[in-house]
Symmetry: C2
Subunit: 380 residues, 2 copies
């Protein structure tokens, strides 16, 4: 289903189909958790399906670090790829757009249409760059709540997301216990550990030490592309698993060529990483990468609320947490701990660990087990 | 025992003590596996203990990617740190210098005294830089054999090493079956998988994309330090484990400072990585990093000999292979596979998996279990 393309006009049946992103502009100031503020902001978002009369059939999708609002459908019939969660969202799909009004917004601080470091600061007429406020997961949630209020949404039927999206999901439940009815955090954590913080720091250093970064004030057409590419290549490895990489690439040579001796591409996996990096630097802003990885690092529910149990004390939603055996970035245990803490608070929560072997990115694949779980949970 | 320092003169009892590195110069040409050659080369090495009359009490230590020949003792009584395996090597220690003549050489291609990319090419009077031949694990072994022949060593009582050192150990057993009596490969692999190849490629890209790299022809005082630092920080994470990093650093703030908002050091683990990188760029050459990581990637016993069983067909030594549960760079399974293949060839081999939780670097720690194993194996 994921492979849109050639004959798309005939495939639109059962698909979200053509979508147009919308911009919501909040014309009042927003104060970030850091105490810094901006006078106004835009959130770019997409929605699929129809808001019902009670405005309570909303499934909010939260995107991951390098994701965006375009999670289903296509922007043009010529698009080679649909949105990043197109296999999950659509008429008759697990997140059924015949029933639900599905919404996804590019996070504040982002670079895909929402206000972020590369946006123009109305006070100066120049890009914010590093004067943009530090962003936290809570800031992402609070700005999205403003959007939902603007749309008149009265409650969230569910919030779902993986990785950084899963952090937002947890924050939603804590922040708005009466508003959020169901949550599905996946492949996430309630606080980053030292290893994840360390990988993010290396990525930031690769960017910030790139001479083209210029303290964040690079021109939009000539940024720290080398550093951003290095950060992406490294991070990409952490999203996969040893096993899936061996299955897909192993020690294969590009084009089946024999062993040679060179510092050029010698193995297919090297070619793959360079391709990933190249496509990434064309779509992602280096400063947003800095801000969002800091948001990941700062996220710590136990630190923010005294303990994880304390963090979950007031929440009222039902929860389905999903961890993946092969995810070594946010290991299954950290996802299980979320549910254990919720259960101690008397919350109706369940944990499932799936044996998909794609690593952290397992939450993005079209898996019958995962999709069945989500479908059933949303029907509950 | 590792903490040399203040009162060293009184601690030398039971220690290797003061050592002086030696240079062996091979004045004839050496042809590398790639077919490229150099007219002469130097191997810098250290030795501890005494060569016996039969010249057959030699324990050869093979160093890892960023290691060197200085594996025991001190170069000066003011040295703050002894050699990298000082806890293992010395009078009465598991590798007992009262019994054994212990030798370790900086690998060919290295940057700690042995001939490598930054050495002067006698033909041009200029540093080799990227005209240095590609190095393989086999080249490391063959050049060390020339050194041992020069010293009149008649056989190797044992060869021991971890990581890249473990690869050399395996190659020794294959290359010189009558010469090598015992091998101890640890935390190693018989071929790098896609994930390890990928991490090394990111490190190389960080170096080669650094504008100061200059196609490898940088001045020795002004190299691609930024790229080398990024490569080191990333690689260092892969040498540790999630658990050990959480135990050591967790989410600790430097100096216990409160949460702030900045792209400077916010977590202790970030400070640690920067410190590691800084000390690394002061002692290691970027081009050697490129050559040695390529040597790691090219190493593939199954590829080179048709199969792992075929690779081990002619070997005659006894083998002790050690894997570490928390090592996710060269996981225990890959170490076990080595022994399984040896056993299929009728070789006296045993495998032990140790539950040390320091990750790949577990082979470097002073562990009673590990040290007991090595002591017993060497006594066998």
């Amino acid at each position: 289903m994921n492979a849109a393309g050639e004959d798309l006009t005939q495939q639109l049946d059962g698909e979200v189909g053509l979508v147009t992103p919308k911009d919501f502009k909040c014309t009042g100031p927003f104060e970030f958790e850091s105490g810094q503020s901006i006078p106004e902001f835009i959130l770019r978002y997409e929605s699929y399906g129809r808001l019902n009369a009670d405005r309570n059939n909303v499934v909010l999708v939260s995107h991951a670090l390098t994701g965006d609002h375009h999670c289903a459908g296509v922007h043009s019939l010529k698009d080679r790829k649909p949105g990043w969660w197109n296999s999950l969202i659509g008429p008759g799909k697990p997140i059924d757009t015949n029933k639900f009004f599905v919404l996804c917004a590019n996070c504040i601080g982002g670079c895909q249409g929402s206000t972020g470091p590369k946006s123009i600061d109305p006070k100066t007429g120049q890009p914010y760059n590093l004067t943009f406020p530090f962003v936290t997961i809570r800031d992402m949630v609070l700005t999205q709540r403003i959007l939902l209020d603007h749309l008149g949404v009265t409650e969230l039927y569910a919030v779902i997301g993986g990785s950084m999206g899963g952090m937002q999901v947890l924050q939603w439940a804590i922040e708005y216990p009466d508003y959020v009815k169901r949550i599905v955090p996946m492949a996430t954590t309630w606080r980053q550990g030292a290893q994840a913080i360390a990988f993010d720091e290396v990525g930031r250093q690769a960017i910030m030490q790139d001479p083209e970064w210029k303290e964040g004030s690079y021109d939009s057409d000539k940024g720290p592309n080398v550093g951003l590419a290095i950060a992406r290549m490294m991070a990409h490895i952490t999203y996969l698993s040893d096993r899936s990489m061996d299955r897909k690439f192993g020690r294969k040579r590009p084009g089946g060529k024999d062993q040679s001796y060179s510092f050029d591409i010698e193995f297919e996996v090297e070619s793959y990483l360079r391709y990933q990096a190249k496509s990434f630097i064309n779509r992602f802003d280096a400063n947003t990468y800095l801000y969002f990885t800091r948001a990941l690092g700062y996220f710590d529910l136990a630190g923010a609320y005294g303990s994880l149990d304390q963090a979950f004390k007031g929440i009222k939603c039902k929860a389905l947490s999903v961890g993946f055996t092969s995810d070594w970035l946010f290991p299954p245990e950290q996802n299980r701990e979320i549910v254990l803490a919720m259960l101690r608070q008397g919350i109706e929560a369940s944990y499932t660990q799936l044996d998909l072997d794609l690593g952290h990115d397992s939450f993005l694949i079209e898996s019958p087990e995962l999709f069945g779980l989500i479908r059933d949970f949303l029907a509950s």
